[in-house]
């Protein structure tokens, strides 16, 4: 989580320095959800992150330099300059990068999970999405299909109460967690800012999935501490709300618990700083992509490469 935040902070400062094109989106305050849930996956379980889930990439082992290089649009970044901001995904590591269209990767996650089930593999697929994304037709189709086929999928709703500037009250009248039941799947609420709690419910969901118990909807309550993107000051969020959540910072919360266990949190933080400094230098040194190859790769020419079974250096499990 520390690393996640540090990488995003670095990305944001690169953006503010004008080195990152477009806008910049981060998941400040929501790190525990992406990290905790992805940590509960095995290496071979693919994950479909969304806007606030840099932690999922980090946990899956995407290097900070490759991520910063991606933000910068460099040739050696994850996307080789073809994609920007949060639209990255190292498929070798089992990360399927998001499309913008919300929540377009949910049906894709269902399809992956379905294939695992058909082939009798002990794998599951996990997709993240926000409260706003639940209003899209794709959400319904994916939830319905997942429930019908009882696929080994885990859906993680990151309920931060806002979709861009739109509060949940203008998105739905009933909490989406209650919708799990109407698709015949388990629904679990969790404190999205408690990384261990998120890990635990995801671990359970994964177990259920692999045992044939079907998909689970996990609703993680959290708060987006920054604007939707770096261009958004989020003045529509009441100050008290932010203050309240500032006191629930997932990283500080975990740090306190770790300190009690005798972990040297400050040393880790220092190590992370060093790592990100190095990564940032590495990323800034990467060359921009060569326009000569810009037309290549619209179509796959050789064998279709499949989503990798991952390396998962940070997984709570051994590779499956």
């Amino acid at each position: 989580m520390l690393l996640t935040r540090a990488v995003e902070e670095r990305g944001l400062s690169l953006y503010k320095q004008g080195r990152v094109t477009g806008s910049f989106y981060d998941g400040r305050g929501q790190e525990a959800t992406a990290v905790g849930a992805t940590f509960a996956l095995a290496a071979a379980d693919p994950v479909c992150p969304l806007i606030r889930d840099l932690g999922a990439h980090i946990v899956k082992g995407t290097s900070p330099a490759a991520i910063l290089g991606h933000y910068l649009g460099r040739a050696q970044g994850v996307s080789h300059g073809r994609e920007g901001n949060v639209h990255l995904g190292d498929s070798e590591r089992g990360v399927v990068g998001m499309v913008s269209m919300l929540p377009g990767m949910m049906p894709v996650a269902v399809g992956m999970a379905w294939a695992f089930k058909l082939r009798g593999e002990q794998r599951c697929a996990l997709a993240f999405f926000g409260d706003g994304a639940t209003s899209v037709g794709d959400w319904h189709e994916a939830m319905n299909l997942a429930g019908l086929q009882r696929v080994p999928a885990i859906f993680v709703l990151e309920h931060n109460g806002y979709a861009y500037s739109t509060p949940s009250s203008r998105q739905f009248v009933v909490d989406p967690l209650e919708r799990a039941a109407v698709y015949g799947m388990a629904g679990v609420a969790v404190d999205g800012n408690d990384v261990e709690a998120v890990f635990e419910v995801t671990r359970e969901a994964r177990e259920r999935a692999l045992e044939g118990g079907g998909p689970t909807l996990i609703a993680a309550t959290t708060m987006r501490m920054h604007g939707h993107g770096a261009h958004d000051d989020a003045s529509y969020v009441p100050a008290e709300e932010l203050e309240l959540w500032a006191g629930r910072d997932p990283i500080e919360g975990q740090a306190a618990r770790l300190r009690e266990l005798g972990v040297e949190v400050e040393a880790i933080a220092a190590a992370v700083r060093t790592e990100v400094d190095a990564a940032s230098a590495e990323a800034l040194a990467m060359a921009p992509p060569d326009p000569a190859g810009v037309l290549e790769g619209v179509f796959c020419e050789g064998e279709a490469r499949v989503v990798g079974a991952g390396a998962a250096p940070w997984s709570g499990f051994a590779p499956a």
Binding site: M101, G111, L118, A142, V298, C300
Partner: protein, 328 residues
């Protein structure tokens, strides 16, 4: 490269497609079929009849009415190694899965280096009294979406061969199967596995003028050509729209100097517009007359036979266009 194994059989266009699916299911267990009512029922047009019985309910799936999830689910299965073949009950319903096709499937490889080998079968086209929602030809929308291949067979043998080529292809392929041809066209179809290349084919030789068409319009073009014995009219079956066989198109223009391009789809921004623009740019010097297009005007396809026939191109309107151009 066409691989042909022993044996030929007279089959309808529809039977050829069914046979292609059967061959694919039998030889490759990554292949799975997804669609509405395609299982025990065999699909609205019976293309998948018997396949679920033969290969099991874990290969051939009846899906809920969820076009986005059918395509998105297929992409998901594909990127972990399956080869899903999806059926839209009518091509018209592909509009409901437009986003998954255009934004997910089509851009995946370029963005992430991840191939999505899915095939989407679209029973398309008019001439069957289907009205505005059961007669559409959506190919141009997908030609204008990078990363999707688009094929449109006109013969039984090509229907099977292009289907098997599409299933082998590591990319998403839109497979247009023309409803009008299903049971009206038959021909010799090789047994077993073979693949038709994604390129154009001359289906009638000629030197005075070339008619370019695909799908059902190839047959209308052939009929038109036959009706003009006084001239030597070539017919080029495009077969593949993405990739478009630009070489074959320009060669035909070079040989014939006069060209009529036929679309059953609506006129504006149709496949034929692209072909015409290609010729106007790169075949200009070979031309000996305007690049003539014949297409359905920009109207929804009306239901009543008298109205439908008034808007769809046919042998008569194609022949008239040819005659006029020949006289140029």
């Amino acid at each position: 490269m066409e691989r042909v194994r022993a044996g030929l059989m007279e089959r309808t266009y529809l039977e050829a497609i069914s046979d292609g699916l059967r061959v694919a299911l039998a030889e490759d267990d990554r292949v799975m079929l997804l669609g509405e009512d395609i299982g025990a029922f065999g699909g609205a047009f019976k293309v998948t009849a018997g396949l679920q019985q033969e290969f099991g309910a874990d290969r051939v799936f009846d899906m809920p009415i969820s076009e986005e999830a059918i395509i998105g689910g297929a992409v998901g299965a594909a990127i972990v190694g399956m080869r899903p073949v999806c059926e839209m009950q009518f091509a018209d319903f592909v509009s409901c899965a437009f986003d998954q096709l255009v934004n997910v499937a089509g851009k995946l490889h370029y963005r992430l280096g991840l191939a999505a080998p899915i095939v989407v079968r679209l029973p398309s086209g008019g001439g069957v009294g289907g009205g505005p929602y059961h007669s559409q030809n959506p190919e141009a929308w997908f030609m204008h979406a990078p990363g999707l291949k688009v094929v449109a067979p006109s013969s039984a043998a090509d229907a099977k061969g292009l289907l098997l080529a599409a299933i082998s292809d590591p990319n998403p392929v839109i497979f247009l199967e023309h409803k009008y041809l299903y049971r009206r066209i038959r021909g010799e179809v090789p047994d077993g596995h073979y693949e038709t290349p994604l390129s154009a084919q001359t289906v009638r030789e000629g030197e005075d003028l070339v008619v370019m068409a695909y799908g059902a319009m190839v047959h209308a073009a052939l009929e038109a050509a036959e009706s003009i014995p006084e001239a030597s009219v070539r017919v080029l079956d495009l077969r593949s729209l993405v990739p478009l066989d630009e070489r074959a198109i320009l060669d035909a223009v070079h040989d014939c100097a006069k060209v009529v391009i036929v679309d059953e789809a609506n006129y504006t921004c149709a496949a034929g517009a692209q072909v015409a623009s290609l010729i106007a740019q790169r075949g200009y010097e070979d031309l000996d007359g305007p690049v003539v297009r014949v297409a359905t005007p920009d109207v929804p396809i009306p239901f009543a036979p008298a109205l439908e026939q008034a808007v769809l191109p046919g042998a008569a309107s194609i022949a008239a266009a040819c005659r006029e151009l020949l006289a140029y």
